[in-house]
Symmetry: C4
Subunit: 273 residues, 4 copies
């Protein structure tokens, strides 16, 4: 069957089954990584001063390539609007837009906007996400647990507000706890066990309250680990339980079962390996 | 049926099923959040100097609103004393009391009391807790594990006392370990992996003991995570096991079972999805 | 039956069933806590200067009480040598010995020994351990996992040696990595996520290696949490599985089972509550 | 049967069943530990200045011993090339090679190479790995989870790039976030909860973003713990399920089962203990 150019392009760019499609994906992944690396190096003062011109050149080459990729993807999509409004389409647009927007703000007076656009350009690292089939189990586990995680966030915030306010009274502005928001920041730094040490309790009472916050907080912060673990364990058990009897089709056989518990046919149990 | 005003108020304020009841809840949640935000901003020096008057005004508006809410809740409760003495009733009272008490201590000589009252006012964030139906699984898991967590706290305290005392001898006051309580504070900061870095071992022997404390402590501190995870996994499994046979009522069928193990009726198994 | 004094003392001091026995235990626990608190306060410079005499007096009172307790325990034990050589007997001896030894080193020239004896006195906090029936599940879980934990320690040490040596080469003495042991100390501080910040990588390459150490280390350090959780989950499942059929005695019924899977008798299943 | 010298050497050096083989292993383990300890001490300035000569002597003795061991292992291996190209063979070679290479760079002008060779010598700690039969469960669990861990690493890197870039814009070079790579380093230090405190957010907005990074990051970083725990739990369950019926050979009996579920023979269930 004679394929049109558009159909052939579609197979290469959106598909992963043909050798050409695989090659395209590999080249694209390396291009993204190189482009992100160039943007990172550009922010290092010593480097940008010496090879800034080359990096600017590289950046425009990458922008041109990604623009071309975006244009071809729109051209060969069977349903164009669906691609453009999909998450991948938006990420693809976002990865080129800031470079063009940067032309309007070349003036040094808009320093913050220039830095903002540089960051937006680096968000093109998100283009890599579509190559993460493997992440499905993790994302499903996190998604299943989204309500519990929201509740956890809320509980942490209430906890941090209470402890932060207490520390504000106990330690006071003289010891670095200059305001309640700053005390809350300290509490979050403490109960997540990050512990920068930029603000630390100085009074004995403050150290007692801080110790309490650490230990209580540690129990609370153990919750997301517990949620994720329990969800992951369930996901894995779920996968195991999908062993189907080749004869009668009964699902959900006990782990390491040799024969179907309904009809006695031998099972093809992968967990035996 | 003709409802009295009191009954209608009760439905709106305590209930969540009617549109008016839902609207009341949403408005209340935002009022609480705004009020807490205003109290936080008031503690930031730069802000309180410029818009302090507006914040004071806002605070009194919020206090008036919460006082009104408290009064109406008492008025329309079928059993007034039960509401007043419930956790929610006490939290509702606590969220307005400090503002009125503050009037008696307007004098700047009672600086500590003023700061204390400000913190007590911020405790009105606890009013939000009644909207946390979702937290039940977490709270149940933590509650089930309360004895184990107490034991864990005790073990950590004994562990911290032993290691803190050793570090006090090894490092001594010259290296920041000025007293045993302070050394214990350092040990808690270390084994919870917070690690501020305000007190650090300086001698080689002290660093060896500290390394030991970190690794041993890490195994001990892994225990609450383990407890919470195991309890959460059990809670989740427990929920799954409540699949009831629609015919004979037998509970506790094996995960992913298709038919009742007692009467053979088909099961409505949600875990198949 | 006429009990001898010795037998009655034994019931009170070693037993926990009689009211007198319970009272004795409670008094002893508070005495231990008070005594440890006094020793801690004694190490705080400001306090020991003002009330040092009272603390010295309290310390000798506590030592006298514990000596009396130790003497009575030996007196009323049915098998004296067994008590003396038991863990509890040794802890009881250790909690009084350092106070008496301190008399021989009252001279200020033996400052280190005096501080060492003070620490040994504080080890009397271990006397509390015998009141921890609840800790059994935790201790059993840790004990079951002792081999895995040893292996984990070993792997961490090998890992820390490798990464510490690499950081010693990459950063060098100029950036605080003055020797390989000190670099290993830094690696342990880093992979346990304590992160004091007293030694930090300064060069870009050092920061890359450090990031690698954090992420790889985090996966390794996740192992003890995993071990403890898996063991605790097994212990809990094990407890559940000990539901015995009151009729035929079959153990190990499926969670939430209503009837014995062998003889059909109704089970007394506590997990239904 | 008359064994040749080569066969007898093989039994002693590669085997662990004979007394001589066990003795050889124990001596080798202590030699490795001593050798690594000597290399570590050599890097401590105060020590290397005083006993540097003895340490150099010890190092050459250890190198001679390991060279002899390597030579004998090659000599008595039934399949020499297989040993040489195995992981253990390469580690054995690596543990002696740097000492000999060091002779060519005795000149002080190649300071970096000398330090590099010292590190490579310390890699002989890896010789210990072959004695870790116990680590099998752990390594199997980590190996089973290798894909999930790779995905996790990738997600963390994307997350760190996004948050690092945002912090670079929010805080800017003035507050220590001098470049995007350095901001990414800060993000990794933060979300792994190491938190050195060498770079910390100074602006209120930066502290809000940092708090978000900590809490979101904490949920992501909980994933490897969850993965390892779930895998370990599966490994342990797998071990339990391998209880075989001594009569009919059916595997996979329910935990704590007393009788085979196929033929009714009594089972030898180790989990009953």
């Amino acid at each position: 069957m004679a394929e049109t150019l558009r159909e052939r392009l579609y197979t290469v760019i959106f598909g992963t089954d043909t050798p050409a499609g695989k090659l395209f994906d590999v080249v694209l992944i390396y291009t993204i990584l190189l482009s992100v690396a160039a943007l990172m190096l550009d922010s290092v003062e010593g480097i940008s001063q010496h090879v800034g011109l080359y990096l600017k050149l590289a950046e425009w080459t990458f922008t041109a390539l990604f623009t071309l990729e975006y244009a071809i993807r729109i051209y060969c999509s069977p349903n164009r609007w669906r691609y453009i409004s999909s998450v991948y389409g938006i990420v693809d647009l976002l990865s080129i837009l800031p470079s063009y927007l940067g032309l309007f703000f070349a003036d040094v007076t808009y320093l913050l906007i220039i830095r903002l656009l540089r960051v937006l350009r680096i968000f093109r690292v998100l283009k890599l996400i579509k190559y993460l089939d493997e992440a499905n189990v993790l994302i499903r586990a996190l998604f299943q647990a989204r309500r519990k995680i929201s509740v956890f966030f809320f509980v942490v915030m209430v906890f941090a507000t209470i402890f932060g306010s207490i520390m504000y009274v106990v330690e006071g502005p003289a010891n670095g706890f200059t305001s309640i928001p700053r005390s809350i920041y300290w509490t979050i730094v403490t109960i997540t066990t990050v512990g920068y040490g930029d603000i630390t309790p100085q009074t004995p009472l403050g150290q007692v309250v801080a110790s309490l916050a650490m230990l209580t907080g540690y129990s609370i912060i153990a919750v997301p680990t517990g949620i994720v673990t329990a969800e992951l364990a369930r996901e894995m058990r779920h996968d195991e339980l999908l062993i189907k009897c080749p004869n009668c089709g009964k699902k959900g056989h006990e782990h390491a079962a040799d024969y179907c518990s309904r009809c006695g046919s031998e099972l093809d149990n992968p967990s035996e390996d």
